[in-house]
Symmetry: C2
Subunit: 445 residues, 2 copies
Amino acid sequence: MEKIVSLCRRRGFVFPSSEIYGGLGSTYDYGHYGVLAKNNIRSLWFEAMIQQRDDIVALDSAIILNPRVWEASGHVSGFTDPLVDCRTCKLRFRADKLEDGQCGRKPSKRPGEFSECDLTEARQFNLMFETQVGALQEASSSAYLRPETAQGIFINFKNVLQLARRKPPFGIAQVGKAFRNEITPGNFLFRVLEFELMELEYFVPPAEAETWHRYWIEQRYAWYLKYGLRPSQLRVREHSAEERSHYSSATSDIEYLYPIGWSELEGVANRGDYDLTQHTQHSGTKLEYVGEGGERYTPYVIEPAVSIERIFVAMLVDAYDEEIVADRQRTVLRLHPAIAPVKAAILPLIARDEQMVARARSLYDELRRRQVVEYDDGGQIGRRYRRQDEIGTPFAFTIDEQTLDDDTVTVRDRDSLAQERLPIGGVRAWLDDALERPWRTPKGD
Amino acid sequence: MEKIVSLCRRRGFVFPSSEIYGGLGSTYDYGHYGVLAKNNIRSLWFEAMIQQRDDIVALDSAIILNPRVWEASGHVSGFTDPLVDCRTCKLRFRADKLEDGQCGRKPSKRPGEFSECDLTEARQFNLMFETQVGALQEASSSAYLRPETAQGIFINFKNVLQLARRKPPFGIAQVGKAFRNEITPGNFLFRVLEFELMELEYFVPPAEAETWHRYWIEQRYAWYLKYGLRPSQLRVREHSAEERSHYSSATSDIEYLYPIGWSELEGVANRGDYDLTQHTQHSGTKLEYVGEGGERYTPYVIEPAVSIERIFVAMLVDAYDEEIVADRQRTVLRLHPAIAPVKAAILPLIARDEQMVARARSLYDELRRRQVVEYDDGGQIGRRYRRQDEIGTPFAFTIDEQTLDDDTVTVRDRDSLAQERLPIGGVRAWLDDALERPWRTPKGD
C-alpha cells in the first residue's frame, strides 16, 4: 500500500489535503491524473447503469436536504458510533475499536494501551456533519450533510414514478458527494470525511426482491471483471445479521483483496420497503406503486452502492506492477485502457528537431480532439516511457528519423513492450480500435 | 421565467428539493434530463478548458479544508452580508436589500414595508456554512463548507508547479460543489445554497495580467456563442471599484439577459497576487515561481468562474420557444445539440406492430452504444414529437410501414420540422455527422 500511496503522490494522482496547513485528517485532494481516472470511473458507471439501460433514470439531489429526511430515514437516531474521549490528550476514540487507538500524549505507547489514560464513558456520536441553515434563526434550522445519496432518491420516488412513466422494476441512480464525520483514522482513501458515492436504488415488486438482489450482485461483479480487476482478488460475502445496517434485510459485499486484507468494494443491499415506508409515515405522502388495475404496493429496494474512491484504490492496487526489464526496474500501472487517465503519449524522439516536433504536434492535435492524450518532449525517451508507464498510459507513439522519411511512427505497448511501426495517417483509427478491443490484464488471474 | 420553471418541473429537469417535506429554501434536485444537460455542460467546459489545452491541468480538492485556509483567504472575516432579524416573525433579511424583504407575519404587506415590524440592528453574518469535524473535541474543530473552489487550487499551487513541471502562464482548473448560506430567497436557480462551480485559476507573470484578463474574457465569451447563446443576449460589463470582491483588482462579468434582467453569467476576475501572498504569509510556505535563472515572483491570477446552474438557466432561456404549427401551439427547446440531454429519439410509428418495434429496438440498441438516445413507443406520434421538442431532442427517427418495405426511416429535424428519408443502415453515421456540424440557433441573433 505504501508503494501505491507514494506513486499517487509522486505522479500527482492524490495529495493529502491542505498540506501547507498541516493537513486535515482523512481528507485528500486529487491531482490531474487522479481527476482523469475518477472521471473515467464515473462515466463508465453512468454508461452501464443509466445510458445503456431502459429501466434506470438519473437524479442529482441536493447534499443539504430538509432535516426531517434524516429523522425519517433513521440516521438522526441510529447513524452513530460509540466514542470515548481521553481527558488527558483530548483525542477521541471508537469505543468498539480501542485496540487501534493511540494516546496522543504517549505516542510511544502501542495502539490499544490506554492503561494510564483518563477515558470517559462511551457515548453515541452521530456520524452526520451538522450545520445551520440561515434563513431561520430557530433551532429547527439545523441541517445535515448527507451521509448517503440514497435518501435523495427515495424522497423523489413519486416525482420520477409520475414523470418518467415507470413501473417496477425500475431504478433511479445518482452520483454525488457524501460526508461522514469519521473518527477512526483512515487507511489512505478507505475511510475519508468526504467521498463520491455512486448509488442505484432499484424498485421491485416485493416477491421479486431476492431475484433482483442476486441479479445486481452478478451485474456489478461482472462490471469489475470487465474493467480489469482479477477474479482472484474479488469475492462476494454475505453480511451476518449483526453486521447489517438498520435498514437492510440482506446485504452482500463485493470484496476486494486490498493490501489491508479483504475489504468492502461495493455493497449490494436489499433495503426492503424500509425507506419508502418511513418516508410515507413521516411526510404523509404515499410512496407506493399503483398499477393500472388499481393494485398497490410499496416496492422493495435493491441498492448497489459504491464510492469512486474504493474503485480507484482497487484499480490502482490491481494494476500496480514492478518488473525488471534490461536490468532496470520498471514500475507500471497495468490499468484497463478505459480507466487509464491518459490514453496515449505522443513523443518526438529528439526534442530539438523541429521537423520531428512539428510532426508530433500535428499528430497530438489530431488525437486530442477525441481522446485525452499527452505530448511530452522532456528528457530522454526512456525516462518519458517510464513516466507514462507509471501513470498507466497504454500506448506511446514515437516520432523519429524514420518518420521524416516514410511517414511511419512507432507504437509501444505498455504491457508487452512490443513495438511496431504504423503509418502516421492511420494512428487515429488504430487508437480508436485499440481502445475498443476487449482487454485482459497481463498479470494473469 | 415561470414558463421555464414550469417546463423544468413538467419534463423532469428540475424539482424543488425535499418537496414531500415542504421543501428547503433555495435548494433544487435535478431529474433525468437535468442531470444529462448538466453533464454535457460540465464535459464541454472540461474539454475546452483542460483536455484541448497544454497549459491547464485538472484538480479536485476537498469541500472541507483545514479552516486556516479560510482565515488566510479573508473569508472568515470578510465573506459576510449585513442582516437584520425580525423579532416578531423570526425571519432574517439582508439589511442592504430590505426593499425586497417581506414580513412573515404580514404576508399581505408589500415587500419592503417593515414599518410595524420589530427589526434588530444589522449585524454581519458569514455566508460560509460551518460544521464541526469530530476528531478533536476542542474549539478549533470548526470547519467550513467551501464557498468557492479557488482556494483548494491556491493551496495546491506548489504541488502542481513541481509535479506538472509548469511555468507561468499555466492554469489549474476544477469543477465541484460550493455552498453559500444565502438569506435572500433565490430566483429559481440563481441564488441557491449549493451549486456546482467551474473555476480556472490561471497563473501569469504580473506584467501580463491585463493581457490575459482580456484573453480569458474573449475565450469564455466565444465559448457561449459556440454553444448557441445569442449575441444579442450577451454582454461584458466591468465591475466598478465598489462592486469588486475583497481579493479582486479588476473583474468583468459576462452577463446574460435573463428574464429577471441582465445578470452575471460568468465572472472573470484578476485576483492579482492576493491569494498566493495571503497563503504564503499564513502557511509559511512560499507560493511563488522560481525560474531556471533564479528569478522569482508571485504570479498574478486570472480567474474565469461560473456555476453550471447559471449556464443551465441561460441555455434553457435562450432555447425556449413557442410557435404555432398547423394551428397548434408547439413548445420547443432549441438547444445546441451538444447541450441537448437526448440526441435522438427512435420511434416506431405503431407500437403494436411487432416488426416496426423490432426494427426500432435494433436501431436504438445500435445508437445508444455511442449516444444518449431515447426509445419511445407511448401514444400518438404527434404527442411523442411534442415531448421530444420540449426536452430539446434535435432529431427523431421514425420507423414506419415504408421501413419494412425499403429499409428507410424518417428523420425529423426539431427546429425546421423538415423530414427526410434515410437508409436505416446509414442512420448512425448520419447522426454522428449531424452532431458534429456547426450549429446556429434558428431564433436569429
